[in-house]
Symmetry: C2
Subunit: 379 residues, 2 copies
């Protein structure tokens, strides 16, 4: 199988990640819940991984890195944890349902107000729109770092400058960029970075989290055991346990730790260079084929390694099925959990075929994909 659905999950992980998970199972006890070697090993691995993530994203405190099951959970925690009745929030048309649905839920339950930065028919936004939407009750700006549908990168440094100027909380959804693109929490003034472990970070599923700037208060989302302060009726208020209840995914975190080591050794610059090279090569190979419509920027400096297209008026699901059955190429079609962007791109009916590239793809994958597109476009 030629796997070009890396924006859903990077199927191929570094061998060290698999080995780390394999070794963690049967060696790691339950962190913070015992003082023997296996439990201490687990506690050390978890703390070290918090530190590696804080370093990777340039956040100051390891103990303000919180683990979750995935970025959706991280976003739910962030959104429910900062917004109160009467608050106004600004977000964008590029968002995934992991941002939209928690907001819609609070709109209904708590009467929060939501304003959207509109995307044009190519999925681009205008950064001047942010300040126009700010109101006295605006609490936060929540933005993806890159669209999962078009790959469009949002300039979070620009947005962060606006949130800083207006004293708003800046929440960034880094689901598509963590590990695939450099993120500097300090430079971009990010208050809460939500990430997943199983995409660009190349870690196992069941991992993800939040990096929180000190001073940002997020209410507890889940309540339960933490291994500390057993007799408190309330969840302890200190991070990370304020937002972590129950046993962490220690085996997965051991794998994530190995994944970050791989990223650091390889460097994100080199990973991004290769991924963008592959995406660009694919685009160049098919851009002049008759009957193709592309979505999002064509300048790959503004993108993560995603190429999204339709062929003529063919149903995107059928194109994706043909890619799989005839060419053994894995892509994703249909709606991509980004309803507002599909509306902006006018692809609600047709959906779109997304090709997403990762470090472990190679040139031959691209050559096969180019041939496949040319063949299907000739039908």
């Amino acid at each position: 199988m030629i796997y070009l659905d890396n924006a859903a999950t990077t199927l191929v992980k570094p061998e060290s990640v698999r080995k780390a998970v394999y070794n963690a199972i049967n060696h790691m006890g339950n962190s913070s819940r015992g003082a023997y070697d296996g439990a201490l090993d687990a506690a050390r691995t978890i703390y070290n991984t918090r530190q590696k993530l804080a370093d990777l994203f340039n956040f100051p405190r390891a103990d303000h890195v919180v683990f979750t099951q995935n970025s959706t959970e991280a976003l739910n925690i962030a959104i429910a944890g900062i917004l109160e009745q009467g608050d106004h929030v600004i977000t964008t048309d590029l968002e995934h349902n992991s941002v939209l649905r928690p907001l819609y839920h609070l709109e209904k339950e708590k009467g929060i107000e939501i304003s959207f930065i509109e995307a044009d028919t190519n999925g681009e936004i205008n950064y001047n729109d942010f300040e126009k939407l700010i109101k006295p009750n605006t609490k936060a700006i929540i933005s993806t770092h890159a669209s999962n549908l078009t790959g469009k990168i949002v300039n979070i440094e620009k947005v962060g400058a606006i949130t800083k100027k207006h004293n708003l909380i800046f929440v960034v959804d880094a689901s598509q960029t963590a590990g695939a693109h450099n993120i500097d929490g300090e430079k971009s003034n990010i208050d809460i970075l939500c990430f997943t472990g199983h995409k660009g970070l190349m870690g196992p599923t069941g991992t993800g989290g939040l990096c929180i700037k000190p001073g940002i208060e997020i209410k507890s989302f889940k309540f339960g055991g933490t291994g500390i302060k057993t007799y408190n009726k309330e969840q302890p208020t200190e991070y990370p346990v304020r937002l972590e209840a129950g046993t962490l995914n220690i085996h997965g975190i051991a794998g994530l730790s190995a994944a970050i080591d791989f990223l650091n050794e390889t460097t994100i610059d080199k990973i991004r260079e290769k991924e963008i090279y592959l995406a660009q090569k694919f685009y160049n190979g098919i851009k002049d084929v008759d009957g193709l419509t592309f979505y999002g920027p064509t300048n790959f400096n503004d993108k993560v390694a995603i190429v999204t297209l339709n062929i003529k008026d063919y149903d995107s699901g059928k194109v994706s099925d043909a890619l799989s059955s005839e060419f053994d190429i894995a892509t994703r079609a249909g709606a991509h959990c980004a309803p507002r962007l599909h509306q902006a791109l006018n692809t609600v009916e047709q959906g779109a075929v997304r090709f997403s590239f990762a470090y472990f793809n190679d040139e031959s994958d691209i050559e096969t994909a180019i041939k496949a597109i040319k063949t299907i476009a000739s039908y």
Copy 2:
């Protein structure tokens, strides 16, 4: 290391579990988010594991098995999802903070009322107390299946008969029993069973969930992508996606699936028989040692494989440290996230040393532990 902290996590898993996770990494795509082989493999594994769990616990529908990160998350979902302002709930002094803290939170936020079945100084409860506490606004009874502190098994068939008679929702916390003791959802009239994957089920961390009786309505807890109904503003209402947002821990679930196969091949009866044999052997070897205090039932038919004790007035943490440093035995000491039961047992100050046994322990582990206790008690 002699690992006797299996109630925190079963450190040693069947080799097939480790292999299944290792194989899932680099082979399984993102379930419900693609139509190619890797994604379909993931979807099939996830569905099959739901079915295996439904069969294991005798619940009728695989699509009413919901995956979570751990049992704490499952309990948070169940508790927040069924209780409304004005509701009354009955629970027990045996509960873990994963039940107590979500309830205290709702008591504060929504004004729900909580009544407790009191435990006596040995951690026993009186089943006649349940009906005495039922009021017109009682909505649910929430009970652990076994205390994580003493190992005491609650007769859920008895409690389930009461919830059935009074038309209450019965929520069972099976953190200490799933995989270690037979659970029959139908026979015990369980409406919501909350379980974790990494203890008795012998699966990886980052797995757990709820089994839900059809007709029981639990509100959504997290909101986000599900791979279906992208254009709905609300979380889809059908189980399991009503309660599952974002990418599941596919790698962990693959391991859990292998773990359930191991349980089914070995049989839970045989596992329980061995675990109880080991716990009983340990107890018999030390019960007459001077200066020991035991907590909970001494009839092992009423227990999971836990022996909890103190030695003289020694701080439980120091005893546990000595067991680790002098005898390489891993146990857990201090407070066990069960604050009300420590109060009933009068062990708030001293804590207690918990020995918990699993299928992969052997007789020599027990012999060493007996010698260790005798030695420490002679200090």
